[in-house]
């Protein structure tokens, strides 16, 4: 049988018993890789002894495209990075451009952005819960539960912006159009469903002994190591550090909003799951507050130039993305195009921690650990 190329394997000789480590290729087409991610696992029986991740299958040259298209055109590429929460990426991109050009954003637009971003965050976390449940093996039930609520959120986003996943709704200086008339009523309706959906998934997964037993104490991460690895977002917060850019470096209208930062205790897979679950609840609270505080006024800065040209300026704008610190480094050197745009993608940095997190665990757990990082390949590969 030709799948055993003996010369390439390390022979382990323990007291006359010859075993060889086996290399398993997981991905790029594999149900558990959430896209086109590939990792090469070296396994000793069922235990992972080494992991080599390969990324780049979805590399679309976002940064090059952002240099080649002008500020408004380039935005369409950015909501395809974290495609589960496109509006958050748009917000980050627009904030970077606004920072470069010193554009004021009307308060109403900020509220609209925050509201839709938080809905996107809920959406993305729902996706996590569904896919994570499937990784642990709940045969798609968590998936369909999560999908039900995601459809509702997508419908709402579509009503506002005209598109579901890639709305290109934000603009440097505000948002494209105002909210529809019955938005508040619809949004509250969707929020009610979201609370219900969080509760359902909580009961389905958290209330399940096997699920808890599988995730608990699995691959714990210390805060120091997480920081050194550049891990951010829910994975960092699960280690017990309450670091959320919405509070640590407040932007937009977050200073006016009341919400808590959920943290974990041990930084294990279960904590990562719980932190995300709790974050969805907090995000729903933020949306409610935004609905109450939503001011009138323009939704787009009326004094925008027809063609945006920015002289020498440099900024590194970061927001709390769904997966962690979503940073946009922007450098302008005149003209209507950016000289350089760089995405600091949270999934990319979180994923770089994977190879050291899975070593020493079972193959089945490696899948769960990968799932618990909640990567989006569009963001990893840019």
């Amino acid at each position: 049988m030709s799948i055993w190329p003996e010369e390439r394997l390390d022979h382990v000789d323990t007291e006359g018993f010859h075993t060889v480590d086996m290399t398993i290729n997981v991905g790029p087409q594999h149900p558990a890789t959430h896209g086109v991610f590939r990792m090469l696992l070296t396994v000793d029986g069922e235990l992972v002894t080494a992991c080599r991740p390969y990324i780049g299958y979805l590399h679309r040259g976002l940064e090059k495209l952002s240099e080649l298209n002008d500020y408004r055109q380039a935005m369409g590429f950015w909501d395809r990075t974290d495609y589960l929460a496109g509006l958050l990426c748009e917000q980050a991109y627009c904030m970077a451009v606004e920072k470069l050009a010193d554009i004021e954003v009307p308060e109403r637009a900020e509220y609209i952005r925050v509201m839709l971003s938080e809905l996107s965050r809920i959406n993305s976390h729902f996706m996590f819960l569904g896919a994570f449940g499937a990784d642990v093996g709940s045969f798609g039930t968590s998936f369909t539960y999560a999908w039900r609520e995601r459809e509702r959120i997508y419908d709402l986003i579509e009503e506002v912006s005209g598109d579901r996943m890639f709305p290109t709704y934000c603009r440097p200086g505000g948002v494209t159009m105002d909210l529809p008339e019955n938005f508040e009523k619809r949004c509250r309706e969707v929020l009610g469903h979201i609370y219900q959906g969080i509760d359902d998934l909580d009961g389905l997964l958290t209330g399940n002994e096997i699920f808890v037993e599988r995730c608990r104490a699995l691959s714990p991460l210390t805060t120091e190591r997480a920081i050194n690895l550049g891990v951010t977002g829910p994975v960092l917060r699960s280690t017990g550090l309450a670091w959320d850019l919405r509070k640590a470096e407040p932007y937009s209208v977050y200073p006016h909003l009341k919400f808590d930062i959920p943290v974990g205790l041990r930084g294990d897979v279960f904590d990562r799951y719980m932190v995300r679950l709790a974050e969805m609840y907090q995000s729903a609270r933020i949306v409610e507050q935004c609905l109450e505080q939503l001011p009138g006024g323009p939704f787009l800065n009326p004094n925008l130039p027809k063609n945006l040209r920015i002289d020498d300026a440099e900024a590194y704008v970061r927001i709390e993305g769904t997966k962690g610190e979503y940073g946009v480094y922007a450098l302008a050197k005149g003209g209507n195009k950016a000289y350089r745009m760089k995405l600091r993608s949270p999934s990319f940095c979180n994923l770089s921690a994977l190879s050291e997190m899975v070593v020493g665990h079972y193959v089945a757990d490696a899948i769960i650990i990968l799932g618990s990082l909640d990567i989006v390949l569009g963001e990893v590969d840019k």
Partner: protein, 382 residues
């Protein structure tokens, strides 16, 4: 011991024993085919219902012909054999998995005195035959020349051999109470109460071990879709793949009939065998259907165990508990203590088993405490 009828059941068609056997086998195989086709349809419908979907509803009224459409598609699909595969091992594996199930069907009584053949040692025969399909599964795993398949095959072998033991012991407990290994006689003995009432612990063990033998969630480790992409049959296609599917559903059906005969009283309980074989067949099918739906229900709600959890559950929990059941039965039967004591001791055992599983997870803060804790931010994973 009035039920121990001589071979074969009832009258012999045309007086020729071999012709009679062939006719009976053809009937049972045809029945099995139809049942399997509708089991796939039924499973998809049940799962869809639980997952808030519609399930197949396009082919025929309510999608009733979906199973046949799938069967035709599978039959005319190309049968691919990978170059790395070991030819004969690969090609014979599906048949070797399937034949044991057919052997089981030959010994199962569907109604009083109605089956292919009444085997006096039916209980033993069914268990022995069901244990045989490990061979085919191992062959598929080794012969496919695929590492996922190899992992799946080895996992299946480890799991099925381990769970075989509590399964057989739990059946043995029933045989002790019944005093016979003849399935027909066992059913007749349950005229006034099913053995479920006498042996709840054995029932719980049997059901759990059966899930494992069938590779059903939460024990679907050998075929884990999100880890090893189907396990041992990952390289199969077309007719050979459908043989594995056929085996899966046919053995589910066989197990459910076997279980309902042994524990639920088959056709005998609650009406006795005076109502004619139509009614008896109906009872058998309803009971096995309940059994099957329970399996599907478990499948859709419960995530997958890890291989070490699975093994320790078998060797440290199920096996001792089944031995305890055996011992208790021995005392009670040898000293001729009242039968209520069987119910009592076994009931306590069943409660202890279920309680132990709950305790295992409740050792840390209880799961019930975790549910809903997402609303308390900061204490998310306490």
């Amino acid at each position: 011991m009035n039920g121990a009828s001589p071979l074969p059941f009832g009258d012999v068609f045309f007086g020729w024993s071999w012709l009679d056997a062939i006719i009976r086998i053809v009937i049972v195989v045809l029945l099995m085919t139809v049942v399997v086709v509708y089991l796939t349809y039924g499973e998809r419908k049940v799962v869809a219902r639980i997952q808030q979907r519609l399930g197949p509803n396009r082919v025929g009224p309510w999608g009733l012909l979906q199973g046949f459409a799938d069967a035709i598609k599978l039959l005319i699909k190309e049968d691919i054999r990978p170059r790395a595969a070991d030819r004969w091992v690969f090609e014979f594996a599906p048949f070797l998995t399937f034949i044991p199930v057919l052997m089981v069907l030959a010994a199962l009584p569907f109604a009083r005195d109605w089956g292919v053949r009444n085997v006096t040692l039916g209980l033993l025969f069914v268990n022995a035959a069901l244990g045989l399909n490990i061979v085919g599964i191992m062959m598929a795993g080794l012969g496919s020349g695929n590492k996922y398949a190899l992992l799946g095959g080895v996992r299946a072998a480890a799991q099925m051999i381990s769970y075989e033991i509590p399964l057989v012991i739990s059946i043995l407990c029933v045989a002790m109470v019944a005093g016979t290994l003849d399935l027909n006689a066992i059913a007749i003995l349950q005229e006034d109460r099913p053995f479920l009432l006498l042996q709840p612990l054995a029932f719980v063990i049997f059901f759990t071990a059966m899930l494992s033998e069938l590779h059903r969630a939460p024990f679907d480790i050998p075929v884990a879709e999100s880890e090893i992409v189907g396990g041992y049959f990952v390289e199969y296609s077309g007719i050979r793949w459908s043989m594995f599917q056929l085996t899966e559903y046919a053995s589910l059906w066989a197990f459910s009939i076997f279980g309902s005969v042994v524990f639920l009283g088959g056709w005998e309980f609650p009406m006795g065998s005076d109502w004619g074989w139509g009614w008896q067949l109906f009872l058998t099918f309803v009971k096995s259907l309940a059994w099957i739906i329970a399996v599907m229900w478990v499948r859709t709600t419960v995530p997958r165990l890890r291989i070490d959890q699975l093994m320790s559950f078998c060797w440290k929990v199920l096996l001792p508990m089944s031995l305890v059941q055996l011992l208790m039965n021995g005392f009670i039967l040898v000293y001729d203590w009242p039968q209520e004591l069987l119910t009592l001791t076994s009931g306590i055992g069943a409660a202890a088993l279920v309680g132990f599983v709950l305790y295992r997870t409740a050792r840390h803060p209880s799961v019930a405490h975790l549910v809903g804790s997402y609303k308390r931010a900061g204490a998310a994973a306490q």
